[in-house]
């Protein structure tokens, strides 16, 4: 689609959306948000970009294939659980840092898990939408 202002707006919106998505992800443990919404906002950014500038550009921007992103996300989530298993003998037992960090609070495996969720959601949404958009040539 040949729309100057969509394309331009998208370029400015993209960082903003990504920033917000990370914000939602990191803060989710304490306020509304979390990996799922964060991931959706992040994918929104890329989908908008795909509509404005084409799927190919969006794929290039993303750099990693969305499908691989799914695998990585699942692995991250799985590892967060396995860390608990190794550390305490029970799967998914949370392991926490001893000190606080801003926004996030304490760092721990639940956050890692949420990051996994985030990555999966981005990967899933983009896999689906890109596949649909690229349609059936």
């Amino acid at each position: 689609m040949d729309s100057v202002i969509l394309r331009t707006a998208t370029r400015y919106l993209l960082p903003l959306l990504l920033l917000f998505s990370l914000f939602a992800l990191l803060r989710g443990h304490n306020e509304p948000g979390g990996g799922f919404v964060g991931g959706l906002v992040a994918s929104t950014a890329f989908v908008l970009y795909a509509i404005g500038c084409g799927v190919k550009s969006a794929r290039e921007l993303l750099m990693i294939s969305p499908r691989r992103l799914i695998g990585v996300g699942l692995l991250v989530a799985g590892i967060s659980g396995i860390i608990g298993l190794l550390a305490s003998g029970v799967f998914m037992t949370a392991q926490w840092s001893t000190r606080d960090f801003p926004v996030v609070g304490k760092l721990g495996t639940p956050l890692l898990f949420d990051i996994g969720v985030y990555l999966v959601v981005v990967g899933v949404t983009l896999t689906i939408i890109f596949a649909l958009a690229e349609g059936e040539e």
Binding site: R67, R68, I70, G71, V72, L74, L75, G78, I82, G84, L85, S88, G89, V90, F91, M92, T93, A94
Partner: protein, 498 residues
């Protein structure tokens, strides 16, 4: 012990994830498939041994005490089902190596296969109602994709119905779980058992809810009159997938029924379990008549799945130790026999070019080995002694006669006759009859090792399970005893709780 409970879930998970990451490399995926396929049943067996030796095993995910966190728990019944899942997984994983085309392999067949196994295993091991819903969904979505994978028209048409009707079931399941939480204030199955038995919950409403669950799981299990999705779809995907589905999916529905109707909803047995017997009878009869009416092997076998679900439900409806023993043993038996039959029919199709009895024939003379591989599980399915199906049938019949439920016994015996009839129909048409088109030669069987070894293994299991029925029956009896006396389960789960 913890690890033993989780390994059967984590192994297929890690297999699937690794395969997903190596999406582009079929060779690695095939290797992962075999490795995961072998590791899964081994983990299951380790778990079964642990449960057998040390009693019911339970662990709390995230170390949150029950009933607040999610419990993973294995009693003998769960552990048996986990072993069966692993076994079927391995069998199908190997069979797939020789029967799934390269294109499906490139599009995530192996990750999907192992995700399905993960979902099924999760469903067998979870001790939490909502978590059960989640695993059901994992299993369902994987099955949706597997069913549609390849995109052939028949597959899509079948999948359309399969998906829609299963989603109905999911919606009802979800609704029921929500109501359950409302009624009992907890989702932990052991805790639910306690709270429903100590009068904390209105028993009338609990019965209403029990019926809703019966319908929800009934759809998944393929009960009358809710089974439509099954004959509409099971014959459409590649046979390895059909075999896996037939072996596992409806059984998860039955598992769930057995679980909740022994552990949780036992406050109005006269009503709920009688209802179940009625449904069981209709399920058996309509299923087997459906099978009788078919001329396509896969469809015929699919209808049989329904019929056999009726037997499984019969044991639950009778609700005695012997009856549940029968159900558990029947489950193990039918998973093996039915999958074997599907896999054999896949070989038949590869050799003779069709699944349709009208176009088949002459295999008895030309491929006697194949005939034997069909005949053994077919007769097992028909309940011919001393194969596995007979003992299953005998246990149920005895249980039925002991509880003076003569009608259901009569029905079950009649249905077993019709089962025999339809098995001999395949035998007579595909094997005995001359080939209708003698000019078309039989094709040589390629990938013989991958295809035949799994079938031989299943047929052998069926024979072993029949002639050497006692160990499995004893195990099933102990499992049934655990089911009928949930105190042990409750104790194992809530042990750590206040």
């Amino acid at each position: 012990m913890n690890v033993l409970l989780l390994l059967p879930i984590l192994i297929p998970f890690l297999t699937a994830v690794s395969a997903l990451i190596f999406w582009h490399n079929r060779a690695i995926q095939r290797r992962l498939n075999v490795m995961g396929g072998i590791a899964h049943p081994l983990a299951g067996i380790a778990l079964l041994v642990a449960v057998w030796r040390e009693g019911i095993q339970a662990t709390q995910i995230g170390n949150w005490p029950a009933p607040f966190g999610i419990t993973v728990v294995a009693d003998l019944f769960s552990a048996i089902m986990v072993v069966m899942t692993g076994l079927m997984g391995l069998i199908v994983a190997v069979y797939s190596l020789g029967s799934i085309d390269a294109r499906r392999e490139s599009f995530g067949y192996y990750p999907l296969l192992h995700t399905l196994l993960m979902g099924v295993t999760g469903a067998f091991l979870t001790g939490d109602m909502f978590n059960l819903y989640v695993w059901f969904e994992v299993m369902l979505i994987a099955s949706f994709v597997l069913m549609a994978l390849g995109g052939h028209r028949q597959q899509l048409e079948g999948a359309l119905k399969y998906v829609t009707l299963n989603l109905m079931s999911s919606a009802l399941f979800l609704t029921s779980v929500g109501i359950l939480y409302n009624l009992a204030g907890t989702l932990n199955m052991a805790d639910l058992s306690v709270r429903l038995s100590n009068g904390a919950v209105d028993s009338g409403l609990a019965t209403v809810l029990a019926v809703m669950f019966m319908v929800a799981f009934g759809i998944k299990a393929g009960l009358f009159p809710l089974f439509f999705w099954l004959p509409a779809s099971y014959h459409t995907p590649p046979i390895a997938i059909t075999a896996l589905f037939s072996g596992l999916l409806t059984k998860v529905g039955v598992y769930a029924l057995v679980r909740i109707f022994t552990l949780i909803f036992v406050q109005d047995i006269d009503y709920t379990h009688t209802l179940m017997l009625i449904i069981a009878g209709f399920t058996m009869v309509t299923g087997v008549l459906g099978a009788v009416a078919q001329t396509e092997v896969r469809r015929l076998l699919s209808f049989h799945i329904i019929s056999q679900i009726g037997y499984l439900l019969m044991g639950l409806g009778l609700y005695t130790e012997l009856a549940l023993t029968g159900t558990i043993y029947f489950m193990v038996h039918v998973i093996i026999a039915k999958s074997a039959l599907f896999l054999v029919s896949g070989i038949v199709q590869r050799v003779a070019g069709s699944y349709d009895l009208k176009h088949l024939g002459g295999l008895y003379r030309a491929r006697p080995g194949l005939a034997l591989l069909f005949f053994v599980p077919a007769m097992a399915l028909a309940g011919l002694p001393p194969l596995s199906g007979f003992w299953a049938k005998l246990a149920l019949v005895r249980a039925g006669l002991e509880t003076t439920e003569y009608l259901i016994v009569a029905v079950s015996l009649g249905v077993s006759m019709l089962t025999l009839f339809s098995m001999t129909k395949i035998w007579a048409e595909a094997f005995w009859k001359d080939r209708p088109d003698p000019d078309r030669p039989f094709a040589p069987l390629r990938h013989r090792r991958e295809l035949v070894v799994p079938v031989i293994a299943l047929a052998a299991l069926s024979v072993i399970l029949g002639i050497g029925a006692e160990p499995m029956l004893a195990l099933a009896r102990d499992a049934a005893a655990q089911l009928l006396n949930p105190a042990g389960y409750i104790e194992a789960v809530l042990r750590g709780a206040a």
